[in-house]
C-alpha cells in the first residue's frame, strides 16, 4: 500500500493523474522498482549467497540482465522476452513467482509497474543509501515570495509540481509553543508568549529561536532523544535488572548538546574517547572517558549460571546492532546469523565490526558483577561534574598560590585549611561511572548461524563492511577510533551517509516524521526519501558546517516550511495522506518526558536543577514486585528532586516507570529512533490518576488562586494561558465554570474528600487558601491538564 501511495504521489509530482496517463510516466529504479524487488524477490534472489535460488540475482544489474542461455530475467525494452515477467504472470503454480510458500504476493499494480519499467529500458541505479549525498541545485519556484531559505524552495518546488498550496503560516502563539517544545521540551511562559506576539520588529522569530538554542534546556531536550538511540538506562536490563553506574554519561551528553559539540567529535568521544590523543586540558580528558560510557550502555546479565562466552557473543552483537542503527541506519543485526537478505552487508562484515570492540575490558561483568545495588561493573571511574570540577580547580589554585606565598601567618594556615576542607567536600561528591578501558583484544570469529558454541568460523580482524571500502591505517590493527573517524569522514569514510542519517532525524524532531520515514533503516526494505534533494542538501549543510547541530536546527525551524500551520486540509490530505510533501506542520502528543515537564511547568512545580543522579517520582507501591536479586523497594524522592525534568528520571529497563511506559517511552533495551505515539486507556488513567499529575493539579490550582484576581473568568484565562498559551473561548469557559460550580458545592459538603485530595503529594499547601475552593479548582486544573491540547505539540 505504501508503494501505492508512493506511486500516487509520483503521479502527482509529475502532474499526472493515473487515469489520465497520456504518456507512460518515467519510473525510477530506486523509488519505484527496488522496493518491489527487495520485498518480493531478494529473499531468494538477493545478496545472501546461501539462500540464493537458481543462481539468479536480481540485486545486481549485470546479473539480472545477463544471458542465461538463450533467455534473460530482464530484457531491457522487451517485457515479453523477460523471464521475470513470464514468471510473475504465470498461472502455472510450479512456475509462478514469488512461490506460494514464500507468503509473498505481487499485486497487479506491482506487476504492471515492473512491466512498464522494463518497457522503458529497465534503467538501473545504485541504492541511494550508498551513493554519497550530492549537492542538488536549488530549484526556481513560482511563488517567489514564499521561501525564506533554500529548504523552502526545495519543498515548495515539489508542492508546486503537485499543485498543492503550502499551508498558511501558523499564528504566533502556536509558533512559539511549537518551537519551544521542539527546541527545549518546555512550554513558553505567558510572558514569553506576550513578548513574542507583541514583538513586531523584524527578526522577532529568529531572535526567539536563538534564545531557545542558547537555553540550557536545549541540551536536555536533545539528550532525551539521544538516549533512546544509544539505549541509555540506569539498570542492566537482564534478569535481576540491577542498577549500574552511568548517570555522569547523561550529564556529559546534555553538556555536549548545550556546548554544540560538533557531531563528529561527539561520535569520536563516545566510541573512542579513551583512544583520542591528549590535546586539551585535564578536565576534558575526564569528559572523554565519561563519554566512553557509550560502549557500556548495553544490556548485561548477572544471572547465576551464565556462560561468559555466550554473553560476550551477545554483548558483541548488541554493540554492532546499536552502532549500525544509530550511525548508519542499517539493520546489521540480521547478519549475526546470515548475510543480509536485502542489503549488501555480510556475516563477515558483522563479525569484523564486532572486532572493533574486542578490546573493551568487560571481564568484570562475570567476576565482579553481582546482586548488589548498584552492581559493580568495572572498569568504573569516580568523577565530578563539570561545575564541581571547575570549583575544585579554582580552590586548588587558590591553595597553591597561598602556599607559595607561605609567610605562614596563622590566619593564612587557617584559611588554607578551610579551603582544603572545601576541596574535600567537593571530592566527596564524586559519582561512579562505567568507562571504556582498552585491553589486548580477544579473538573474534565468524559464528556460523550466530552459534557461539561453534568455533569453526574463521577469525576476523576489525574491518568496515567490505562494500563500503576499507580503512587505510598503515598495517596496524584498526581500532574504535578509526571506526569513529570512518563514520564521520565524508572523504575517507561514510560521513556522507552518517550526515544523511542525522539530518533525517533532526528533520523528524522538527516535523514529526523523517524525510525518509524509516529513521533506522535506510536499506532496501526501508523507504526511499520522499525528497532526496532535500535530504542530501541538508546532509551536505551538516557536513559543511563542521557538523554544527544547532546551525542545522536553526535552518530548519526558521524555514517557512516549519512555520506552516498544522491544520489538515481534507483536499490535501487525500492527495498526500502521510504529509510527505510537508504541505503542513504536524500535530502529535508530546513524548512522555515532555508531558511530565509540561505539566510540572504549568503547575509551577518544575525544579530546574541540572545533573546528578537519577530522580525517582512517585510510583505505585509494589511495582517492582516481580524483580529479584535483590528484591527491590522503590523510594520516591521526598524533596525537590520530585519535580525535576523527565530526562533525569530513573530508567529501570525491566519496569520502566508506568507513566513513561504508558506514554510510549521505550525500555531502551535496543535502539529506538522514533517512538510510537499511542493513545491508550492506560495513558488516560495515568494522566488522570498518577499522583504526580494530581499533585501538579493541586499546585496549578494554588497558582491560579494566588496569581490572578478573584474573578472566575480571569482565573480561567490565566489557567488556560499557562497550560495552552491562549485564553479559553466562551464554550471552554462555560464547561469549566460548570465543573467548578459543581465541585464547590460537592466539596463544601464533603470535608473528608477535601482533606484527602489536598494531601496528595509532598508539595506544601498554601494555608491561606480556602480548602474547599482549592479542592474545587484542583478539579478544574485536572480537567485542563487532561485536555488533548495541553499535551499536544501542533
Amino acid at each position: 500500500m505504501l508503494k501505492r501511495v508512493a506511486f500516487v504521489l509520483f503521479c502527482l509530482i509529475c502532474g499526472r493523474h493515473p487515469a489520465a496517463w497520456g504518456h507512460t510516466p518515467r519510473l525510477d529504479f530506486n523509488r519505484d522498482i527496488r522496493p518491489i524487488l527487495s520485498d518480493k524477490c531478494y529473499h531468494c534472489h538477493g545478496h545472501d549467497a546461501e539462500q540464493r535460488q537458481a543462481g539468479l540475482r536480481l540485486d545486481q544489474e549485470v546479473a539480472a540482465k545477463a544471458n542465461l542461455g538463450g533467455y534473460r530475467a530482464i530484457a531491457p525494452g522487451d517485457p515479453d522476452a523477460s523471464e521475470l515477467v513470464a514468471r510473475i504472470v504465470s498461472s502455472d503454480l510450479q512456475l509462478k513467482m514469488p512461490p506460494a510458500d514464500s507468503g509473498k504476493q505481487l499485486q497487479a499494480e506491482e506487476i504492471a509497474t515492473l512491466r512498464r519499467w522494463i518497457e522503458q529500458g529497465a534503467a538501473w541505479s545504485e541504492p541511494w543509501t550508498y551513493v554519497p549525498p550530492l549537492h542538488h541545485p536549488i530549484p526556481e519556484v513560482r511563488q517567489v515570495g514564499w521561501p525564506l531559505n533554500w529548504v523552502d524552495r526545495l519543498v515548495l518546488s515539489r508542492l508546486e509540481t503537485a499543485r498543492i498550496e503550502p499551508a498558511p503560516e501558523a499564528d504566533r502563539v502556536t509558533l512559539i509553543r511549537r518551537v519551544n517544545f521542539d527546541l527545549t521540551g518546555l512550554p513558553p511562559t505567558p510572558d514569553e508568549v506576550d513578548a513574542f506576539v507583541e514583538d513586531r520588529r523584524p527578526g522577532a522569530y529568529v531572535r526567539l529561536v536563538e534564545r531557545l538554542l542558547a537555553s540550557p534546556h536545549y541540551g536536555q531536550r536533545m539528550a532525551s532523544y539521544w538516549f533512546d538511540l544509544v539505549r541509555y538506562a540506569d539498570t542492566v536490563g537482564y534478569h535481576g535488572d540491577q542498577d549500574h553506574n552511568i548517570a555522569p554519561y547523561r550529564d556529559y551528553v546534555i553538556d555536549a548538546f548545550n556546548d554544540n559539540m560538533p557531531l563528529d567529535r561527539f561520535t569520536h568521544e563516545q566510541l573512542a574517547g579513551d583512544l583520542l590523543p591528549e590535546t586539551t586540558g585535564r578536565s576534558k580528558k575526564v569528559e572523554r572517558l565519561i563519554a566512553t560510557g557509550y560502549n557500556r550502555l548495553l544490556q548485561t546479565s548477572h544471572e547465576g549460571g551464565i556462560q561468559p562466552k555466550e554473553y560476550l557473543a551477545i554483548y558483541a552483537a548488541d554493540r554492532v546492532r546499536n552502532l549500525s542503527s544509530v550511525w548508519m541506519a542499517a539493520t546489521m543485526g540480521c547478519c549475526q546469523c546470515h548475510d543480509h537478505k536485502y542489503d549488501p552487508y555480510t556475516s563477515k562484515d558483522f563479525y569484523s565490526m564486532e572486532a572493533f570492540f574486542a578490546d573493551i575490558d568487560e571481564a568484570g561483568h562475570f567476576t565482579k558483577g553481582g546482586n548488589a545495588l548498584p552492581t559493580q561493573r568495572p572498569p568504573e571511574l569516580d568523577v565530578l561534574n563539570r561545575t564541581q570540577r571547575g570549583r575544585l580547580t579554582q580552590l586548588e589554585n587558590q591553595i597553591a598560590v597561598m602556599k607559595r606565598r607561605s609567610d605562614s601567618h596563622a590566619s593564612e594556615t587557617d584559611q588554607i585549611r578551610q579551603l582544603e576542607k572545601a576541596c574535600q567536600a567537593i571530592r566527596a561528591q564524586t559519582r561512579r561511572t562505567m568507562v571504556t578501558v582498552s585491553i589486548p583484544p580477544r579473538t573474534i570469529r565468524i559464528l556460523p548461524r550466530g552459534d557461539w558454541l561453534d568455533e569453526n568460523g574463521p577469525i576476523v580482524e576489525p574491518a568496515v563492511p567490505e562494500f563500503l571500502g576499507r580503512l587505510e591505517v598503515g598495517g596496524r590493527r584498526p581500532n574504535r577510533l578509526d571506526l569513529a573517524h570512518w563514520l564521520t569522514d565524508p572523504q575517507q569514510g561514510v560521513g556522507g551517509l552518517t550526515a544523511r542519517v542525522f539530518a533525517n532525524r533532526f528533520w523528524y524532531l522538527c516535523f514529526g516524521t523523517g524525510i525518509a520515514r524509516q529513521l533506522d533503516d535506510f536499506g532496501g526494505q526501508g523507504e526511499p526519501p520522499a525528497n532526496l534533494a532535500l535530504l542530501d542538501n541538508l546532509a551536505i549543510e551538516l557536513l559543511e558546517s563542521g557538523w554544527d547541530v544547532k546551525q542545522l536546527l536553526k535552518l530548519l525551524v526558521t524555514s517557512r516550511t516549519y512555520r506552516q500551520s498544522s491544520l489538515d486540509r481534507p483536499e490535501v490530505a487525500s492527495l498526500d495522506p502521510y504529509n510527505q510533501l510537508t504541505a503542513r506542520q504536524a500535530r502529535y502528543r508530546l513524548p512522555a518526558e515532555m508531558v511530565r515537564d509540561q505539566i510540572l511547568a504549568v503547575s509551577g512545580l518544575l525544579v530546574d536543577a541540572r545533573g546528578g543522579p537519577s530522580i525517582r517520582p512517585y510510583q505505585p507501591a509494589g511495582y517492582y514486585r516481580n524483580l529479584n536479586f535483590p528484591k527491590r523497594t522503590y523510594h520516591a524522592d521526598t524533596d525537590s528532586h520530585q519535580w525535576r525534568r523527565g530526562v533525569y528520571m530513573h530508567w529501570q529497563r525491566q519496569f520502566l516507570h508506568p507513566m513513561l511506559k504508558a506514554l510510549d517511552a521505550p525500555s531502551r533495551e535496543e535502539c529506538t529512533a522514533g517512538r510510537p505515539r499511542s493513545n491508550t486507556p492506560l495513558a488516560a488513567l495515568t494522566l488522570l490518576n498518577d499522583p504526580s499529575f494530581v499533585e501538579a493539579a493541586r499546585l496549578f490550582a494554588q497558582r491560579i488562586l494566588t496569581e490572578g484576581d478573584s474573578q472566575t473568568q480571569s482565573r480561567l484565562d490565566h489557567a488556560f494561558r499557562l497550560a495552552v498559551s491562549h485564553r479559553p473561548d466562551a464554550t471552554e469557559r462555560r464547561l469549566l465554570t460548570e465543573l467548578l460550580q459543581s465541585r464547590l458545592q460537592q466539596f463544601a459538603n464533603d470535608p473528608e474528600a477535601v482533606e484527602q485530595l489536598l494531601q496528595i503529594g509532598v508539595a506544601p499547601i498554601d494555608q491561606h487558601l480556602d480548602p474547599v475552593e482549592l479542592a474545587a479548582w484542583t478539579s478544574v486544573a485536572r480537567a485542563i491538564l487532561n485536555m488533548n491540547e495541553t499535551v499536544t505539540r501542533n
Binding site: M1, L2, V5, D39, G103, Q107, Y238, H239, S301, G304, G305, Q307, G512, G514, R517, Q518, D521, G524, G526, D568, P570, S574, Y578, R587, Y588, P620, G622, Y623, R625, N626, L627, N628, F629, P658, S667, E669, E670, P676, S678, N679, T680, P681, A683, A684, L685, T686, L688, N689, L735, L736, S742, D750, L757, Q759, I760, S779, R782, N786, N788, E789
Partner: protein
C-alpha cells in the same frame, strides 16, 4: 497490499471498508500512530477488532491461559519418568550426553547423574505417567496432553522466558499475547485483551521482566497489562483519594467535551481516539475492581481452588483467570515464580506443587464445568526443564540445573487430545529424541488452534516480515490435536 502490515491496515479505503463491515463509526475507533503512520485499532485500546482476514480458518480455541511455572520445573520429577537414570544415580554422567552442550551453573564441575527424586504412577485411561508431586494433576490425566520432547535454545532464565514468549532472545519483539490480540482482537470492551498475573512461593522467586508481556514493535495497546493482587489491580485504576466515582465521571465527560469542542476547529481523528481511550479508562475503573472482587464466588468455588480473596496466591490467580476468560480476555498469562530448584529439589517441589497443583486442577475442572474448556487452550510448563545431573549447591541437598535439550509441558482444552503423551527424551532424560517439539512448534500449534496460519501471520518491522515463529522452519504438531 499486505493486510497484516500495520501500515497498510490504516489506509483510507481499507478503513472505510472495515468500518462498513463492522458497522462502527469513527467515533469509537482509535487511530494509532506509529512513526507517523496511522493504524487502525480499536479506540478502547484492548477491544480491538482484529485484522481483516483473520482468523484464517475456523479456530479451535478462542483464548489461551498459559500457566508458567517460572524457574523451570523438573521434567524428571513431573512427567518424564527415567528408571535408567535411577540406575546411574551418583555415577558420572556419560560424556556422550553432555559433551559440547551448554551448561549453566554446573560449568566446570564434575557431572553426575541423579535419579528421579520421587515415585511415578500411571493415571487415567491411557496410564499417563505423572509423579507423586502432582496428586491433583493425576486426576486430570484424561484431560491433558503431556509433551515430553520440548526443546529450547536459551539456558538462562531471562532469555529463556523471552524466547518462550516472543520466539527469540532479542529484546523488542512482541510476546504471544500481543501477537494474538493484534491478530484477533479482544472480545472485551472493558478489560485489556492480554492480562498477566504473578505469584510467589517456593525457591527464591524468579524475576519476570515486563519484556515478557511487551508489545514490541506492535502498537502499544496490545501490550499485556499486569494485574496486581494487592493495591490497585491496574496502576492508576483507582480514583485519586478524595475523588468520588461520580466526580471522576464528570471530569472525564468535561475533558471529552473540551476535546470535542477543540476538535471542531482542528478536525483531528486522533482526538476521537483519545476521547474513546478516556471512556475506556473510565470503564476500566469500574470493571477492574469488579473483576478482582471475588465476593460473588461461592464458598464451594473458593474452596475448590483453595483461594482466599485478595491473598495474591496462584490459587486466587487461577480463579481470576477463569473470571478473565469468562469476560472475553484473549490471553491470560499466569506466572508462579518458585521453580528454580538448584538445591533441595524435593523440598521445593513439595512447596511449589502444594501451592499450585490443586488450583491448576480446579481451574481446568471449573472451566470444564462451565463449558469454557472446549474453546480455551490451557498450557502448563516452564521456560525450560532441569538437568539429569545433580547440582549440590551449598551442600543443601540435591537439586538440578537448567536444561533445554528435552523437557516437558502439558496442553489441554480447545482442540487438544486429552489423555495422551507425545514425544520422548533419551533413556537419561537429556535429549529429546522422538517427535521433538521445538518452542517454535509450540508457538505454531498455539496460533493454529486460534485459527491463525503461523506462516501467513507476519508484520513488517525493519523491512522484515516478522513472525512469532521466526525464520527457522516450524510445524503445527498435528498429532496432538483432536
Amino acid at each position: 497490499m499486505n493486510p497484516l502490515d500495520p501500515a497498510d491496515v490504516a489506509t483510507a479505503s481499507h478503513r472505510r471498508a472495515f468500518l462498513a463491515r463492522t458497522g462502527i463509526g469513527l467515533g469509537s475507533i482509535a487511530l494509532h500512530t506509529l512513526f507517523g503512520r496511522d493504524h487502525l485499532a480499536a479506540g478502547a485500546s484492548s477491544q480491538s477488532l482484529g485484522l481483516p482476514g483473520l482468523p484464517h480458518y475456523a479456530p479451535r480455541a478462542k483464548r489461551v491461559i498459559f500457566l508458567c511455572m517460572a524457574g523451570g520445573p523438573s521434567h524428571l520429577e513431573s512427567f518424564d519418568y527415567k528408571p535408567e537414570l535411577a540406575a546411574l544415580s551418583g555415577q558420572p554422567m556419560p560424556a556422550s550426553f553432555t559433551e559440547g552442550q551448554p551448561i549453566a551453573q554446573l560449568q566446570g564441575q564434575v557431572l553426575k547423574a541423579q535419579g528421579p527424586m520421587t515415585r511415578f504412577g500411571r493415571y487415567g485411561q491411557n496410564g499417563q505417567e505423572i509423579s507423586d508431586f502432582f496428586p491433583w494433576t493425576q486426576k486430570l490425566a484424561d484431560d491433558i496432553c503431556i509433551v515430553r520432547s520440548l526443546v529450547g535454545e536459551q539456558i538462562n532464565h531471562d532469555p529463556a522466558h523471552t524466547f518462550m514468549n516472543t520466539g527469540t532472545a532479542i529484546s523488542g519483539r512482541p510476546s504471544i499475547g500481543s501477537w494474538v490480540n493484534y491478530g484477533l482482537g479482544s472480545e472485551s470492551n472493558e478489560l485489556p485483551g492480554f492480562v498477566v498475573l504473578t505469584s510467589e512461593g517456593g525457591r527464591n522467586p524468579q524475576p519476570i521482566a515486563s519484556r515478557q508481556w511487551a508489545a514490541g514493535f506492535l502498537p502499544s495497546q496490545f501490550q499485556g497489562v499486569p494485574f496486581q493482587s494487592t493495591g490497585a489491580a491496574v496502576h492508576y485504576v483507582r480514583n485519586p483519594p478524595g475523588i468520588r466515582s461520580t466526580q471522576q465521571q464528570e471530569l472525564v465527560r468535561t475533558v471529552a467535551r473540551l476535546d470535542r469542542h477543540r476538535n471542531e476547529q482542528v478536525h483531528n481523528q486522533e482526538i476521537d481516539t483519545r476521547i474513546a481511550a478516556y471512556e475506556m479508562a473510565y470503564r476500566m475503573q469500574t470493571s477492574v475492581p469488579e473483576l478482582m472482587d471475588l465476593a460473588d464466588e461461592s464458598p464451594t468455588t473458593l474452596a475448590m481452588y483453595g483461594a482466599t480473596p485478595g491473598d495474591g496466591t496462584y490459587a486466587s490467580n487461577c480463579l481470576l483467570a477463569r473470571r478473565l476468560a469468562e469476560r472475553g480476555v484473549r490471553f491470560i498469562h499466569l506466572y508462579h515464580r518458585g521453580w528454580d530448584h538448584h538445591d533441595r529439589l524435593r523440598k521445593y517441589m513439595n512447596i511449589c506443587c502444594g501451592l499450585t497443583d490443586r488450583a491448576t486442577w480446579a481451574l481446568l475442572t471449573d472451566l470444564k464445568q462451565r463449558g469454557l474448556l472446549e474453546d480455551t487452550l490451557v498450557i502448563w510448563g516452564g521456560e525450560f526443564g532441569r538437568t539429569p545431573m545433580v547440582q549440590l549447591k551449598g551442600g543443601k541437598g540435591p537439586g538440578r540445573d537448567h536444561h533445554i535439550k528435552g523437557f516437558s509441558m502439558w496442553l489441554a482444552g480447545g482442540g487438544i487430545q486429552g489423555g495422551i503423551t507425545y514425544g520422548a527424551t533419551d533413556e537419561l532424560g537429556y535429549h529429546a529424541v522422538e517427535n521433538i517439539v521445538h518452542i517454535r512448534d509450540l508457538h505454531a500449534t498455539l496460533l493454529h488452534l486460534l485459527g491463525i496460519d503461523p506462516q501467513r501471520f507476519s508484520v513488517k518491522f525493519q523491512g522484515l516480515d516478522m513472525r512469532l515463529t521466526g525464520v527457522e522452519p516450524s510445524r503445527v504438531v498435528q498429532e496432538i490435536l483432536t
